[in-house]
Structure formats: structure tokens, C-alpha cells
């Protein structure tokens, strides 16, 4: 049975996630309103502007719906802005994150756009060597709860990917490269297979 995966389509590069998930055999739904979460196995929160995504999500009650979705066993993966909105807390006053995962996140940790970069990165649970990771005005994880596992760090030790149960957050954008391995990992989490991580 193919998995039913949603992409939060309020703003950002949700089409890139959609195309990649569909290429892996998932049935993908664009989620703009809470009722569209029904029947999904997992949800991707894409890259975009976190302040815009939070504003648009709050307007129609998406954060509460997402908390219920997770309580009912749904998997959630946030990339970049998605990591920010999943956080329990930010080191900045705004926006107010959804509090889906026990992490504290700093926005724009690496600086402005002129400091954005790409690099090679090893990710726990992803076989076949390092992935190529694209960081765009990226956040980083500053604190994490005990049940949260760091699955990727930069060479200097900065944590840039975390997982807790069926929740995952990456500071970079696997959807902007042709490498599908992180999306495959998320599909395994969505199917309830936590064995590789």
C-alpha cells in the first residue's frame, strides 16, 4: 500500500517535496487547511519563511491540528523553516513555533543570505555515504530534549538534523538536490519503521 503523505502548502518549496515524494511512490496531498490532514501517514513542512508559515497556519488552526495529528501517530518532517516551526522554543522572540518537538532552535544561525552554503554531510540512518546538503539562511538546533537524537552535525559540531520517534527536522534542504535518501528515511518513519535510526 502506498503511503499517504501531506506537504504543508502554505508557502515555500512544497512542490519540490511533492515531486520527490511522488517519485518514491507516495500519494501526496497539499495541506492548506486542517481537515486536509485526515488520513495522512506523514506530513512534510517545507522550506520557506517561518514567520509567513506560522502566520498562515495560525489563521486556520493548523498548529492544534498538527498536535492532534502527532498524538494519533502521524510522522512529521520539517526542512529549514519547517525545523523552526516544529521547535518547542526559539532563541528569538518571533515567530511563536508550534512546539511539536523538544528542541530549541536559532533562526538564521549562519548569517544572512550571502553566508548561505552547501557542503557534504553524513546522516545517521542514511546508508551510502554523505549527502550533499544545501543550507539557505539556515537555522541550527541549540538545545534538545533527552528523547531527541542528533542525526547529523557539521564538521565543527553544529547540530543540523534531529529525530525523535516519528518526528524529524533538518536545517538543510534535501528537496533541492536529486538525492532521495532523506525522503526515503522519512517514508520509513511514516510507515512506522524506526529500525534504521
Amino acid at each position: 500500500m502506498p503511503l499517504n503523505i501531506g506537504v504543508l502548502a502554505l508557502q515555500g518549496d512544497f512542490q519540490e517535496h511533492r515531486a520527490m515524494l511522488e517519485s518514491l511512490g507516495a500519494i501526496v496531498t497539499e495541506v492548506r487547511l486542517p481537515h486536509q490532514l485526515e488520513g495522512l501517514d506523514g506530513l512534510v513542512i517545507p522550506g520557506g519563511e517561518s514567520t509567513a508559515i506560522v502566520k498562515l497556519a495560525n489563521r486556520w488552526g493548523i498548529p492544534d491540528a498538527l498536535r492532534r495529528f502527532i498524538d494519533n501517530g502521524g510522522a512529521v518532517w520539517g526542512t529549514c523553516a519547517g525545523m523552526i516551526v516544529m521547535a518547542r522554543e526559539l532563541t528569538e522572540p518571533e515567530p511563536e513555533p508550534f512546539g511539536l518537538m523538544d528542541i530549541t532552535v536559532s533562526r538564521n544561525w549562519f548569517g544572512r543570505q550571502v553566508d548561505s552554503f552547501e557542503t557534504e554531510l553524513s546522516v545517521k540512518g542514511v546508508p551510502g555515504g554523505p549527502i550533499h546538503a544545501v543550507f539557505i539562511r539556515a537555522p541550527s538546533v541549540r538545545e534538545q530534549g533527552e528523547d531527541v537524537q542528533c542525526i547529523a552535525r557539521l564538521e565543527d559540531g553544529t547540530p543540523v538534523a534531529v529525530r525523535s520517534g516519528k518526528l524529524m527536522a533538518t536545517a538543510f534542504h534535501p528537496e533541492l538536490t536529486p538525492d532521495t535518501r532523506i525522503h526515503e528515511l522519512f517514508l520509513r518513519l511514516s510507515a512506522g519503521d524506526l529500525s534504521s535510526v
Binding site: 508557502q11 515555500g12 519563511e49 543570505q113 552554503f117 557542503t119 550533499h132 533541492l176
Partner: protein
């Protein structure tokens, strides 16, 4: 299925890949300011609204309304149009105030071909440069070489050939020119339909006709081949120039652009915060008329506007650039 990390958009032969491939394949270190991160920032803006602001307070209003970026400038296009004279890059102090006031990306405009203004914007830490026909052109023949910058550029276009020339020069994002400062959406519609229609036509052409198509539209052959194959521009494409209402924004989204710029339309209207919020909602829910109806209520006065038909040829900003 794992694929080789030698390409970024799934095809080993694309123009963009060939340009960027050598830059990081042989590099052990993280690469800053590559084409992937420049065009990638534009990807993150999709489905969003970029708003013109002239003060830090306006930037804050825009951010609170859910703008994905702000365009920092001294005068909105409607005022540039009214004032006349030479329009130039904004004062660095004013741009810095806005950089400090907001956490979302900040764009600023350079004149067409004025690569030193662009160098100044990059030095200030501006996140995106708009090489813009709204300012007075600084070069009648050449646009800036945008490959020379780690700051990404967005450029205006009125048709596909113009879009592909700008991408060939290194633009990481394209927008329609529309007719800035009018509040009349007709030119944005015309330019978006021109670009999208020409893409559809290019897709249908047999391969032997593509070189002549490239010649006729004055576009780089490699990019013509890529558009023929993929059926889309290799970079993000926004609409700009005359968008003033939530329905205007949703119209452009339904026609098929990736997002919208709203210039004079917000802060020249009666209730900027509410109008900004409504345009953001309408851009996300562009295919949901109930929501567009809901957010369009009681917005107060829209900007006054000028019918683009009433402009003389010399008053048309879209004629600037080539």
C-alpha cells in the same frame, strides 16, 4: 534509490548544473554563495508575497502580515512615477535600518547595468538584489553580470526571451515587469501570459526548430533546450507591477506564477496592515474563492491607480531593459 550528488534538479545535462558543477565537485570545503544557494533562496519565497517598504516601521508591518521578504526602497514606484527625475539606489542608512528591523530576507534595487550599486548592496548584506526597471537605467546596452556576485539577483521580463537572457547573465529569480506604480494589473497579466505561453509553444516545437526559436527570441540556445525539455523556467518566476488587491494576487497565481511582488499597492492604500494580510492569505489560498472573498471584505481604499492605457510610451517602465 540513491542518486549521484552531481546535479541539483534531477537532470545531469541541465544548463544550470553544467555551470555550477565544477564549483563544488572539486571543493573539499563548504561553498558560500553558489548558484544553488542563490536560486534556492528564491525557491523558499514561492507561494509568498514580497512587499515594497520605505521605512523600518513598514518593514515590521509587512513581516507581521506574513510577507516572505521586503523590498527596501526610498520611494515606492507610484511616487517615483509622480516625482520624475533620476531614480537611484536607496541610501545605505535607510537599507541598514530595514535590515535591522526585520528577520525576513531584505531585497533592494540597483539600476539596470549599475554593477557598483549592486556591489554596495552586497557589501551592506542585502539578501537579494532587484536589477530594476523602476529605477533609471545606468547602461543603455548591458545588464550587470550577475555571476560575479554571491548575492542573488531578481530581474524583470516582458517575454520568454528576456527572461532567458537575464538567467543567462546569472539571475537567480525572474519576475514579470508589469507596469509598476499604476495599480493596474493588466500589464502583469500580459507579461505572465507571454512568458508562460511561449514556454508552452517552445515545448511543442520539434527539436530542429529550436535554434531558430533561440535566434528569434534572442535567448541562449542551452536555456531554450532546457525549457523545451522541462516545460518551465529553470528559476522561480514571480509576478510584479500593478498588483493591488487580494484578487489580483490570486489571479496571477492561478495564471501560473510562483508568487507576487506588491509595490505601491499596500502602503499607498487606506489600511496597509489589513490589505497586506489579505493579499498574503489570497496568495496562499489562491484557488479558494471563499477565502479570497472573506479576506477581501472592508479593506478600505485601494491605491488610486492609473490605467496603463493612459501612459505614454515614455512613461512605460516596462520598456526599460532589453
Amino acid at each position: 534509490m540513491a542518486t549521484s550528488p552531481t546535479t541539483t534538479n534531477g537532470t545531469a545535462t541541465s544548463y544550470i548544473d553544467r555551470i555550477r558543477e565544477p564549483r563544488w565537485l572539486n571543493s573539499e570545503e563548504a561553498e558560500v554563495g553558489s548558484y544553488a544557494v542563490k536560486s534556492g533562496l528564491a525557491q523558499m519565497l514561492k507561494g509568498g508575497v514580497i512587499m515594497d517598504v520605505v521605512t523600518a516601521d513598514q518593514a515590521k508591518i509587512a513581516e507581521d502580515a506574513g510577507a516572505v521578504a521586503v523590498m527596501a526602497l526610498e520611494r515606492v514606484p507610484a511616487d517615483i512615477r509622480a516625482d520624475g527625475g533620476v531614480a537611484r539606489m536607496s541610501d545605505p542608512n535607510m537599507i541598514e535600518d530595514i535590515l535591522k528591523a526585520t528577520t525576513i530576507p531584505v531585497m533592494a534595487k540597483s539600476r539596470i547595468g549599475h554593477f557598483v550599486e549592486a556591489q554596495v548592496l552586497q557589501a551592506l548584506g542585502v539578501d537579494f538584489c532587484d536589477e530594476s526597471e523602476v529605477l533609471t537605467p545606468a547602461d543603455h546596452e548591458f545588464h550587470s553580470n550577475k555571476w560575479a556576485f554571491k548575492m542573488p539577483f531578481v530581474c524583470g521580463c516582458t517575454n520568454l526571451g528576456e527572461a532567458l537572457r537575464r538567467i543567462g547573465e546569472g539571475a537567480a529569480m525572474i519576475r514579470t515587469k508589469g507596469e509598476a506604480g499604476t495599480g493596474d494589473v493588466v500589464e502583469a497579466v500580459t507579461h505572465a501570459r507571454a512568458v508562460l505561453g511561449e514556454i508552452r509553444r517552445l515545448q511543442q516545437l520539434p527539436e530542429m526548430e529550436l535554434m531558430t526559436a533561440a535566434k528569434n527570441m534572442g535567448a541562449p540556445y542551452d536555456l531554450v533546450l532546457e525549457v523545451h525539455r522541462t516545460g518551465k523556467l529553470p528559476v522561480v518566476n514571480f509576478a510584479a507591477g500593478g498588483i493591488a488587491t487580494p484578487a489580483d494576487a490570486a489571479l496571477m497565481m492561478q495564471i501560473g506564477v510562483d508568487g507576487v511582488f506588491v509595490g505601491s499597492g499596500i502602503f499607498k492604500s487606506g489600511n496597509p496592515a489589513q490589505r497586506a494580510d489579505a493579499i498574503v492569505q489570497a496568495t496562499t489560498h489562491f484557488d479558494n474563492p471563499d477565502i479570497i472573498a472573506n479576506v477581501s471584505r472592508n479593506l478600505g481604499e485601494a491605491m488610486v491607480g492609473i490605467s496603463s492605457r493612459e501612459l505614454t510610451e515614455s512613461e512605460r517602465l516596462a520598456k526599460r531593459g532589453w
